[in-house]
């Protein structure tokens, strides 16, 4: 047979993700106080972002929290110049940033970089570059309540 048939279909499944006490506390601090707080492992001292309710390494629950700094260092980055279905409109830059006082890096958009020339943008975003946290004026209690900006764009 030359002409084979295809059938159209799709997933239509909606989820309700429970945020849990740890995430709720993190997002409330983001929204209400414009602060980034992180849980700290009572055993190894790891300050972890994104926040978790337990230490993956020591396997103990965590109830201590610390506030981390509003500046940090880029640990990895990329710039996406093409469109993927249902993903943000290009171009956009994202980076893992180790905020001062945190033990792990957390990803977010870097918004004050000219992305018209990829190579130039990549140079500006290099590993080791300093960024600061910028909070949105209207915060909703999601990870989009803040983004990063280069200190020296």
């Amino acid at each position: 047979m030359k002409e084979m048939m295809t059938l159209k279909g799709g997933w239509n499944v909606k989820y309700n993700y429970a945020v849990g006490p740890t995430g709720t506390r993190f997002f409330k601090a983001l929204k209400g106080e414009a602060k980034i707080i992180a849980p700290k492992c009572p055993k190894c001292g790891l300050v972890m972002l994104p926040p978790r309710s337990f230490c993956e390494r020591c396997f103990v629950p965590i109830d201590e929290w610390v506030e981390v700094g509003m500046e940090g260092t880029i640990q990895a980055f990329t710039v996406v110049p093409v469109k993927f279905e249902s993903l943000p409109d290009p171009p956009y830059a994202i980076a893992y940033v180790l905020l001062d006082g945190a033990g792990t890096a957390m990803v977010n958009f870097v918004k004050n970089v000219d992305l018209s020339d990829l190579r130039k943008a990549a140079k500006k975003l290099a590993i080791g570059k300093r960024v600061r946290v910028v909070f949105e004026k209207k915060r909703k209690g999601t990870i989009h309540d803040f983004h990063y900006e280069l200190l020296k764009p």
């Binding site: 499944v13 993700y17 429970a18 740890t22 993956e56 390494r57 629950p61």
Partner: protein
Amino acid sequence: MSDKVAILGVGMTKIDSAKKDQKLDDMVFEAASKALAQASLDREEIDSVVIAACDELDGRCISSMLLAMPAGAYLKDEIKVTDDGSYGVILAAMRLMTGLFDLSLVVSWCKTSEAPLSDVMSMRWDPFYHRGIGMNHITAAALMAGAYAERHGISSDIPAKVVVKNRRNGSRNLNAHLRTPVTMGEVRLSPRVSWPLRALDCAPESDGACALILASPRRAKKLKRDAVRLAGFGWAADSYYLGERMLWDSPSLRIAAGKAYGMAKIKEPVAEIDAAEISDFTSYHELLAYEGLGFCGSGQAQDLIREGITAREGGLPVNPSGGLLCSNPFTAAGLFRICEAFLQVAGKAGDHQIRGATKALAQGSAGFCAQGNAVFVLTQ
């Protein structure tokens, strides 16, 4: 018994309708931590982890990415099965029997409150011939229930009695999701969800996570004589196409039970087994399982119910925990069965303990109309 894998401890979260107070990984961490605590082990001592879960219900397309860590797998040898929580024990036991590992965590979970079970189940049907005609897990179960009732002339009182029995059992189990007993009248008056099933014939949708720790035969040799051993296990699958199956019978369960009994040297299950925890996704599933597990001949499950043999006080109590009809954390349900069977044999089942139980059976199932079945025999 020294060539057998041993079970050192289990951990279960409370089973509830919607655990909104816990993120999925919080729930998994709780179960794994509890199992380690019961076995008096540190995570560092574990050398392997087996996970059993369903991506589509977890709402993450490789859910073990997030959940391997709360399951205790950081820098450990970890592998995942999907069929049912109980399949995790199969894989872990085989891994331990190779001699490559000594201590394994098996972890399973499900938060049905976060995913619309019916939508996901309808996606399980093939897109060409089945999907789109309103089939989900309940309608499939109804086809099986109807076929069974028709074949053996089962009156609706019999499955209703299963519901009453299990709900009464569940009222003694502090961990169960539904803990209020129901009457025959309540079952009869509950709305039809898909003929012949009524709402109370069907398991609820629950959230829960559980974990269990297995020790290799090598390691188990050093344990006390009354340690709980996995004396036998077996599993098998039936056809996906319901039209090709005789829905009033469960060949895969017969095969699985035959293998498990052979390994555990069980000849007369009813006489030898002290308690059974089986996957009663509907009341009819429990009846079919009696036959597949060889508790009785074809069509005779109703006699076991009528005579009260499988009641708490009977010769072979089935689902003393209340079973799935009281708590149904879907994918994890089978591993919960094994955890409950462990509690019975270890004498740790509390208010729902069957006194003097030294041999217990657990059954897990996966797929429409229990397409896949796994059977486990636990002994002291």
